[in-house]
Each structure stands twice: as C-alpha cells, then as structure tokens.
C-alpha cells in the first residue's frame, strides 16, 4: 500500500471532473429531462381534458338529438292537429257556401216567379181589357179607366 503523489493527481482529476460535470453536463441534461417530463405531463393533461370534452360533447349531442326528436314529434302532432282543423274549417266553409248558394238560388227562383206572376197578371189585365173591349165593342180609354184596370189587376 503506497500512498504517493498519485493521490494528488487523482484528487485534481476528480475536482476537475466534478467541476466539469456541474458546469457543462448536469444542467443541460437535467434541464432536458425535466422539460420533457413537464411536456409529457402537459400532453397527458391535455389528452385527458380532450377526452373529457369529447364525453361532454357526446352527451350534449345526444341530448340535443333527443330534444330535436321531441320537437319534431310535437311539430308533427301540431301539424296533424292543424290539418284536422283546416279540413274542418274547409268543410264548414264549404257547407256555408253551399247554403249561401242554395239560398241565393231559392231567392232567385222566388224573384223569377214573382216577376212571371207580375207579367202574367199584366197580360191577363191586357187580355181582360181587350176582352172587355170586344164585349163592349168600343174602346175603353185606358187612362180614363186605369183605376178600374188596376183594381182588376189587384183582384187577379
């Protein structure tokens, strides 16, 4: 066992290597490792967040779908109701219209009949007068005897 100057040489080498490691090796290596750890942690966190977001979005989408379906059902129901209503209304309107047309027709017929009656009456009056003229063999002054003629028309 001989301790000698080699010890000093080794000590100097040791100090130099430690100094070099401390100055130029450890900080960049450890820094890179720690930065990467942080990056990975961030990435994991982000992916977790994304997965949660996706889940949330899916839940939202299914909810919206359900809502939309419900809405569609309501709309269809409303439409059916409205359809029935429109049909009812149309039928109602048609009936009213028909009644109106019927009434109009009837009143027209009435008016026509009245007019025909009037015409007939007047023709009868003329006939009566001409008949009476023939009977009397003389002309009756239509204006002078208008009152009698009118009375006659009234009676017919």
């Amino acid at each position: 066992m001989n301790i000698n100057a080699t010890l000093l040489g080794e000590l100097i080498a040791f100090v130099f290597f430690v100094w070099f490691t401390m100055k130029y090796v450890w900080p960049p290596l450890n820094g890179a490792i720690e930065d990467r750890q942080k990056k990975i942690a961030d990435g994991l966190e982000a992916s977790e967040r994304a997965a949660k977001d996706l889940e949330l979005a899916q839940a939202k989408a299914s909810e919206q779908l359900k809502e939309a379906k419900a809405q569609a059902a309501t709309i269809i129901e409303q439409a059916k109701k409205r359809e029935n209503q429109i049909i009812d209304e149309a039928a109602q309107k048609a009936r009213v219209e028909a009644e109106k047309i019927l009434a109009q027709g009837q009143s027209e017929i009435e008016a026509e009949r009245n007019r025909a009656k009037e015409d007939l009456r007047k023709q009868v009056a003329v006939l009566a007068i001409s008949g009476a003229e023939k009977i009397l063999e003389r002309s009756i002054d239509a204006t002078a005897h208008a009152d009698i003629l009118d009375k006659l028309v009234e009676e017919l």
Partner: protein
C-alpha cells in the same frame, strides 16, 4: 505469459500484475498507469455525456441520449431520496462519482493479461526490459484513486458542516455528542473524531478492497489453475459483474448520505 522466460514463476507473475507503472521516488512517485487510465476514463465520461448534453432535445431522444438520461435520472432520484437540502453540487458530484467509478471498475472485466502484455510488447519494442514494464489497468485497485475520491468527499463534508452549522456548531457536534455532560466532552470528542475519520477511510477502503480482491482473484485464476481457468474466469467475471456496479453505487450513495449529514443542523 509463460513464454517470458525462467524468471516468471507464479509468484513473480502475481507480483508483476500487482505492481504499478511508477515514475519518481518516495512520496513523489507517480503511478502513471493509474493516472492515465483513470483520467482517460474520466474524459470518456465527461466527453460522452457532454456530447449528449450539448444536443439534448426535448423531442424524441436518441438511444444514447436515452441511456445517458437513464443514468442521470437514476442518480437524480437517488439524490432526491436521500439529500433533502438545496445544493447544486451534490447531484453532479454523485453523477461523476457513480459513472467514473463504474467505468474504472469495469476495467476489471478486461481479461487480466490483455493490456499488461500489450504494454510489455510495446515496452519491448521501445527498448525496455519487458519484465520491468508494469501495467495495472484498474485504477480503483490503487488506493490512491479511492482515497482521492474519499478525501474529496471528506473535504466537502467538512466544508459544508462548517458552512451550514458554523465552526462552533461543527465543533459542538464533535464534543457534545453522544454524552451531553461537560466532564465527558473529551471522551465524546475522541469518539466523534474517530467516527468522522472512519467515514472517508471506510469509503476508500471498501471500494479499494472489493476491487483489489476481485482483481487478485482474476490474477490467481490466471496464474494458478492452468486450463481450468477458462470456466473459472467466466464464473468469477459473472459474479464480479454484480460487484462492479454495486460498489460504484455504494460509493455514490454513501457520499450523498455523508454530505446530507453534513447539511443537517440539529
């Protein structure tokens, strides 16, 4: 190796393998093989890690970057688990100790004769007597290396103890513990100083002892049992593969623990 002549007995072979290539006299002897291998391995460590650190990307890392980051992450986790203060030195120090010691220990796995006989061959070509060309390739089997590491850690322990607790606080830790009565302070002091010095000593000797013993067994297997050394080498190498990272890890872990204790203020 047996071709090297009559001087090469088994004892001589083992002796040869346990001798460093040395330059100088007395204390000023330099183990050039230890220094060269340890510094070369240290450079391999800092340069390879630096090359990764320079182009460390946030994106998908390459395979070598992954490997380096794995080691960094492992050391970082060990430091975080054990050391609870705030000190930018501890983690790089631990990384240096771990990787450097690991690399130096791994030299043990290279078959014991490869590099020494290569050195002998080169030495022979250069005109030296091959019998006196020594090459010990595992720096951690040299007590100088392990002690240098341990003393480095020890110096930091003392420095941070005084920095965090003050000189008085550090002294008080030495004499007012475990018996907190004034007339036993001298006794406490002896105990605590021994305990304090035992820390770097145990650190240095544990690593040295494990690797020296491992190396010695490789040499014994190579030198003593002839052809049976082939399976024996394999078995011992497989076992030694566990010891190598374990010792590097223990050295790092204990350094962190000792420095953590130095930071604790009672």
């Amino acid at each position: 190796m047996a071709a090297n002549g009559e001087a090469l007995t088994t004892q001589g072979y083992i002796q040869h393998h346990l001798t460093n290539a040395a330059v100088g006299e007395g204390f000023w002897t330099w183990h050039v093989d230890t220094l060269a291998w340890s510094i070369a391995l240290g450079l391999v460590f800092i340069l390879s890690f630096r090359s990764v650190a320079k182009k460390a990307t946030l994106g998908v890392p390459g395979k070598f970057q992954c490997f380096v980051e794995m080691i960094v992450e492992f050391v970082s986790q060990s430091v975080k688990d054990t050391f609870h203060g705030k000190n930018a030195l501890i983690a790089p120090l631990s990384l240096t100790i771990f990787v450097w010691v690991l690399l130096m220990n791994f030299m043990d796995i290279i078959p014991v004769d490869f590099l020494p006989s290569f050195a002998q061959w080169v030495g022979g070509l250069m005109g030296y007597d091959p019998h006196h060309v020594y090459m010990k390739v595992v720096p951690t089997t040299d007590l100088n290396t392990t002690l240098a590491l341990a003393l480095g850690v020890f110096a930091l322990m003392i420095y941070y103890s005084i920095k965090i607790k003050g000189f008085g606080g550090f002294m008080k830790e030495l004499y007012a513990h475990p018996f907190n009565t004034p007339w036993l302070y001298w006794f406490n002091f002896i105990l605590e100083v021994i305990a304090l010095i035992a820390k770097p000593m145990s650190l240095a000797l544990r690593l040295f002892g494990n690797l020296y013993a491992g190396e010695l067994i490789f040499i014994l297997i190579a030198g003593l049992i002839g052809i049976w050394q082939l399976p024996a080498h394999f078995i011992w190498a497989a076992f030694h593969l566990l010891v190598i990272p374990l010792q590097a890890f223990i050295f790092m872990m204990l350094s962190i623990v000792y420095l953590s204790l130095a930071h604790e203020d009672h």
